[in-house]
Symmetry: C2
Subunit: 468 residues, 2 copies
């Protein structure tokens, strides 16, 4: 019997995890694996780019978990700089273009994995393609930005010229890039379309981020929609324009977000959801297609709290998807039950975390809820280095079921959200949470952990609302 | 109608939390509250004593959450330095002794709260009461130890004399006191009866603690049972003797553990469990007694994983008990479902955490299990300051239910155990845990959180054992 043929489109986290896991389960005599990557790199941490740009991570290659040769050593036929341009679903083959030689060819598959990732949102505004305007999705993007910073640095004077960075967008990429630019010695302005930075939080919690960024010397301008990028006589970026003002800029970083890259899949009618991502079943198989799987930034995932799909581009999900797809295509078994929407990020020493639903998410799916917000510290108040932390909690009216948690604070704030992530997964009520046996010792927590304090206050809010 | 009379025995975490919560629910016209404390202090953090002794916490009073006057301001009749010497259950009254005046009196109650805490285990060995031998259970103990350190410091010479500390016991108090003594400039030897330090961990994980303490310059001697304390001509401690050796000591700290202080309760036949602690129902009412509650270090708690009671002296439980008792005696409602056995501690920058069952605990209750141990880091490997972390996980054979987690590592290791604590409470399987949506960003976690890596390896171990 001929070996089964597996084709993987996309050489980053989801695609190469799938290929590697499949290879673990099936030897080369049982399964041939071909993977296509249109860029220069495989299996790298896009999430690490802000830290490389900021100088915390010294080398680009530090972000690469596994290079092409390592994959090839495991008998994966990896085609770098080769872009899949067409999927022939009925014919079970993909057409690819070698971007260096310009040659195209067809490759047959028995099983197909689509891991085409996401592409940055790049609004069609004047000047958006000018030199000095940078996305930060890929390692190539990161290198281009670093080159741009060097150039900006080379023309520095005593005045602010040559060291003004404008970051467009105040989501997690935006705030992480604001930190990176600050570390590189730039004056940083963040232009944010929304009411507060970190729209992944409720505005009251986003306000805390705003104030903390202010304290770090980062200027955040809210309700600032970019209308144009103005260029100088040299064609490089000179300023970022909004309806109200003009912000001089030597470097512009776009942190506006991403959308699923599903051009190929949509061209052949594979099902996409309301957020533009491919729809899969629990085994990560594309809905309606027994021999096509999809995972990573190009799919929608089930939000277990909201009961509907979302698009979340995050390396940790992509790795899980790849692992599960690799198990399933390799004859094993795995499912991805969904997410609860956990995300953590930081700006300098400020930690920001969320899981579950924001107020507007809960409203959007018809949930009625109460909220409570508390302030506490990450360590016992008397222990050196104890820092303030704000925890906001949402619970469903009547049932008291936990719906979401947001945390803004410093040392030890971010990963505390994991407690809520597990509680959400388990469907716990906030009353049940008040009894959780969380680790306590003065260097690590007050005697009542901030999450427990928030749970207690949410229970009180439920009682006040006449439901408990 | 006359006001109801509540009597509370013990003025620390459980007792005063109960009194305070009862007062929140019932005004002085509805309920009279009398609390007896035999010592000098109320509502203090005994867990903070090692950090005060070590110099991280400057002042004794920093450890006091609420002093006598604050309690009295809330209309709690607090009798300091007054020891309850007898409970008359049928007569609904307690006899107390004013330790300053020597006077005794009876106080009637409608409802009684027993929060008598724990007392240090102090083996009856020669020299145990010598000057320079210190427990660290109370603030008075801490002050006496600090005085002793001053004295030891005053006779320091160029040699080691005057700065040799021996810590007896290598549980969490022992290792925390080892850090404190180290910080005070002492040469520290820890004498440990067991096979490895931190007997709250399995020996393989305890070994990691041993090695790390070694690296910190703390000498740990295992299988070293103390036989005597040898004193010098001045009557002060001179050395600690074991069967095999003699350890010169200028100061000795006892960290051997505690046992429930239930002398009063046992004298009148209140029910105690196999570990000597009072037995209560879910509302923290003493079994068989409708008007007597007990909480804190003097009770046994239900271990939700093992399905039987344990004695755990820990401020976080005591505070919860007090809160629940106060609600119940005040006409509200609260229950304490039990614990999963979470504990975190540190020695310098080494973090140690556990939750659920150790191997021997699982065996003791008839559970068959598999284990897996992994090494990972607390941050993405490429992120500055990423430190190694070892996670051991136990899961039940066949069902795959999580049974316990132990973690030894550095930055970010300890509180990761909370994820497992919630998963244990929810009765999750390790397979379910592999899909947990935990916070990921390079400064906070590798793309697979160490707990997820451990869960995956435990799933593999289950599969190998033929059960999954």
């Amino acid at each position: 019997m001929a070996a089964e043929r597996l084709v993987v489109i996309g050489g980053d986290a989801a695609g190469m995890s799938a290929a590697s896991q499949a290879r673990r389960l099936k030897g080369p005599d049982e399964m041939g694996i071909t993977a296509f990557e249109r860029g220069h790199f495989t299996s790298y941490s896009a999430c690490g780019i802000p830290y490389w740009v900021g100088g915390d991570v010294a080398e680009r290659d530090d972000l690469i978990a596994r290079g092409p040769e390592e994959h090839r050593a495991r008998a994966i036929d990896l085609r770098m700089r080769t872009e899949v341009t067409e999927i022939d679903v009925a014919g079970q083959r993909v057409r690819s273009l070698d971007r260096d030689s310009g040659e195209t060819s067809w490759t047959a598959f028995d099983k197909l994995v689509i891991a085409t990732g996401a592409r940055p949102v790049r609004p069609a505004l004047p000047g958006m393609d000018a030199a000095g305007v940078h996305g930060v999705q890929t390692l190539d993007d990161g290198q281009a930005l670093l080159d741009s910073l060097d150039r900006a640095g080379a023309i520095r004077t005593e005045g602010p010229e040559g060291r003004r960075a404008v970051v467009v967008g105040a989501g997690y990429i935006g705030v992480e890039m604001a930190e990176a630019m600050l570390k590189r010695g730039f004056e940083v302005t963040v232009l944010n379309r929304g009411e507060q930075p970190m729209a992944t939080l409720d505005p009251d919690m986003g306000r805390l981020v705003h104030d903390a960024m202010d304290g770090l010397g980062i200027t955040t301008v809210n309700r600032a929609a970019v209308t144009a990028i103005r260029t100088g006589p040299d064609g490089r970026v000179a300023a970022v324009e909004t309806a109200d003002a003009s912000y001089p800029a030597d470097v512009v970083v776009l942190g506006i977000g991403v959308e699923p890259e599903t051009t190929l899949a949509r061209a052949v009618g594979l099902p996409v959801g309301p957020h533009g991502g491919l729809l899969t079943d629990l085994s990560m198989r594309v809905v309606g297609h027994d021999n096509i799987w999809a995972g990573g930034d190009c799919v929608e995932v089930l939000d277990l709290v909201a009961g509907r799909t979302r698009h979340i581009a995050l390396g940790t999900h992509a790795n899980k998807h790849g692992q599960i797809i690799g198990s399933n295509v390799g004859g094993g078994y795995g499912t991805f039950p969904g997410v609860v929407g956990t995300a953590v990020s930081k700006v300098c020493d400020l930690e920001i975390a969320r899981t579950g639903l924001r107020e507007k998410d809960a409203r959007a799916v018809g949930l009625r809820f109460v909220t409570a917000t508390i302030e506490s510290t990450g360590r016992a108040g008397y222990y050196p280095g104890a820092q303030p932390m704000t925890v906001k909690m949402l619970a469903e009216y009547r049932t008291g079921r936990l719906l979401g948690v947001q945390i803004v604070g410093r040392d030890g704030a971010a990963k505390r959200v994991d407690v809520a992530a597990v509680a959400l997964t388990a469907g716990m009520t906030v009353e049940q949470m008040t009894a959780l046996d969380l680790g306590y010792a003065p260097p690590f927590s007050p005697v009542w952990d901030p999450v427990l304090v928030a749970a207690r206050k949410t229970v009180a809010a439920l009682r006040k609302a006449g439901t408990a």
